[in-house]
Every structure is written in structure tokens, then in C-alpha cells.
């Protein structure tokens, strides 16, 4: 089962990368852009037939390794196909 994990800087945490990208986008003329955040996108496969099991496992992976809850939020998508 394929899982896509998205790790982004927490709201309120200084994100210098996001700020730099935002300022570059604005200088390119995209004046309406706001709240740019730069994070990580992780794709992985879990050998299980149960989406619930996959969700449970990936949540624990995020909490234990893939994200640092002090400064990052995570979301994930489980592709059941």
C-alpha cells in the first residue's frame, strides 16, 4: 500500500525557506502569493492489506521519526489501490 507523507513547518514557527521562496515569487510578479511553507514529501510502501493498519503504522512513523512535533506538522494519504 502506497503512503504519501507531507511534513511542513508548524504554524508560528519561523520558516526561513518559505519566506525566501515567497519573496522570490513576489519578485517574479506573483504579488498575491502568501504563507509559503517549504516542507518534505515522503513516499513509502507498507506491506499490508488494511488501510486502517497502514494509517496506524504511518502515524507512528511520523511521530517517532518522520516529523519533529516541536516544529513540524504532518499529514498523510493512504492509497488503498
Amino acid at each position: 500500500m502506497q503512503v504519501k507523507v507531507f511534513v511542513t513547518p508548524r504554524k508560528g514557527i519561523l520558516d526561513p525557506q518559505g519566506r525566501a521562496v515567497e519573496s522570490s515569487l513576489k519578485s517574479l510578479g506573483f504579488q498575491s502569493v502568501a504563507n509559503v511553507k517549504v516542507g518534505q514529501y515522503i513516499v513509502l510502501e507498507i506491506d499490508t492489506r488494511s488501510p486502517a493498519d497502514a494509517r496506524d503504522q504511518v502515524k507512528r512513523m511520523c511521530e517517532q521519526l518522520l516529523a519533529n512535533p516541536l516544529v513540524e506538522d504532518f499529514t498523510f494519504e493512504v492509497d488503498a489501490q
Binding site: I13, L14, P16, Q17, A20, Q40, L65, L66, N68, L70, V71
Partner: protein, 229 residues
């Protein structure tokens, strides 16, 4: 005194640390390979700088799961002295042996400079050979040194005296321009609540001989030697 210096794949400052502890401090310092579990009788364990595991995912996030880190955590829980510099500081934060986390410098650039840090609390095993308010000139070299912790926790840490080192200017005053990486509260080094684990972004092991540009790193090692007795 017996020191253990942990070598992870990607450690860089392990040999300079050994040199400082052996040749300058005259101690018995040994390298501890990260896959081993024995600390070989070390009275203080040092986690050196570098790019452990390529700094993949987040600095220190993967090194934290090395077999030796279980022993380091147990050693710390038993009151043993653990010192982490730069990547070692990042590993100690990821391992939850220290509060907070180190994130990308606000400049987004790697910073290699000599900075001034002020000793904020000289009543700890890592700072007792110095005085509160002492200014140390130490090198930093890192891309991720911006210290972050929740504001409420920072307040408690400040009250308890866990902030041991802070970036300051030449006059010893806090100044945004002297806080190169943008660390919250200009924090350069913090201890845990028991004051037996200490992490700092500067490199004391690179400041142990005049030839290296100064000897201000010695105060930290001398403090540890005094504490172990």
C-alpha cells in the same frame, strides 16, 4: 579522567575532540563506534559535530536511533555527564535528552564564524570553572543552529537557569546582529533540568590552543574534569 567520544557515520569533529581531550587536557579519551553499546567506562560522553547519517530527514534525527544512543540515554538517566557540540547538540535534542530543536539558520546559509557567547549560569558541571558573565570566543560552523522551543518552555528553562550560553556582542550585550543564526532568546547552549546533559552549537574542541585562535573552549572541559573530580 576517562572520556568517550562517539563516532557516527558522518561525524567530523571526533578526531579534533580526541586531540583536545588527550593532548591538551591530558585525559584518557576513546572513540566509541555508534554500533557498539559499551561506553567503555567513560565518565563523560561527548557527541561531536559533523553530519551524522548525512543529516538526512533532519539533523540528528537518524543518529538518535544508533545502538550507542540507548547506552548514552541510560548513562544520562543515571546522572552521567553528556556533552554535545553542534551535530551532537542536534542529536541530543532529537533524542529528547535536551529540550527544543535546532532548525535552519535564518540566513539560510552555512555560517562559519568566530562568535562570542556569555556564560549565563556558572553553577553547573559544564561551566563551574568559569564565572557568570564570562565571555567566550568560540567558533561556530553550521547550517542548522537556530534554537527553537515553545515559548512557555523557554520561560521555564530561563527561570531554572538551563540556558548556559547566549550569543552576545563584543561588549557582552545581547544584540540581534550578534545572534547570527537567529536562535530564540539568542541561545547558544542549553542543559537539561538535572544539569548533566549539555548541548551547544559552538565548538569548544576547536578553541583549545592559541594556534587555533584561542583557548576559550578549555573552560568547558576543565569544568567537566572538576565535576568528575
Amino acid at each position: 579522567m576517562k572520556w568517550g567520544v562517539v563516532r557516527f557515520p558522518g561525524s567530523l569533529d571526533d578526531l579534533d575532540s580526541l586531540y583536545a581531550l588527550r593532548e591538551v587536557m591530558g585525559g584518557d579519551a576513546r572513540l566509541l563506534w555508534h554500533k557498539e553499546e559499551s561506553l567503555q567506562g567513560a565518565q563523560c560522553v561527548l557527541l561531536p559535530g559533523g553530519f551524522s547519517y548525512g543529516d538526512y530527514l533532519r539533523c540528528g534525527a537518524i543518529a538518535r536511533f544508533s545502538p550507542i544512543m540507548k547506552s548514552v540515554a541510560k548513562f544520562a538517566a543515571d546522572g552521567g555527564l553528556v556533552l554535545g557540540s553542534c551535530n551532537g547538540f542536534q542529536i541530543l535534542c532529537e533524542a529528547h535528552l535536551l529540550p527544543g530543536v535546532l532548525t535552519r539558520n535564518r540566513t539560510l546559509s552555512f555560517i562559519c564564524e568566530r562568535v562570542i557567547v556569555r556564560v549565563e549560569n556558572a553553577a553547573t558541571p559544564f561551566t563551574r570553572a568559569m564565572r557568570q558573565g564570562d565571555l567566550l570566543r568560540l567558533p561556530i560552523k553550521h547550517g542548522e543552529g537556530l534554537y527553537v522551543a515553545p515559548e512557555a518552555e523557554l520561560g521555564q528553562m530561563e527561570e531554572r537557569g538551563q540556558v548556559l550560553l547566549r550569543y552576545v556582542d563584543e561588549r557582552g550585550k545581547e544584540d540581534d546582529a550578534a545572534n547570527l543564526n537567529g536562535a530564540m532568546h539568542s541561545i547558544a547552549g542549553v542543559a537539561n533540568q538535572r544539569f548533566n546533559v549539555f548541548g551547544l552549537m559552538p565548538h569548544p574542541e576547536h578553541a583549545v590552543e592559541e594556534m587555533l585562535g584561542g583557548t576559550d573552549g578549555l573552560g568547558i572541559f576543565r569544568s567537566i574534569v572538576e565535576s568528575v573530580g
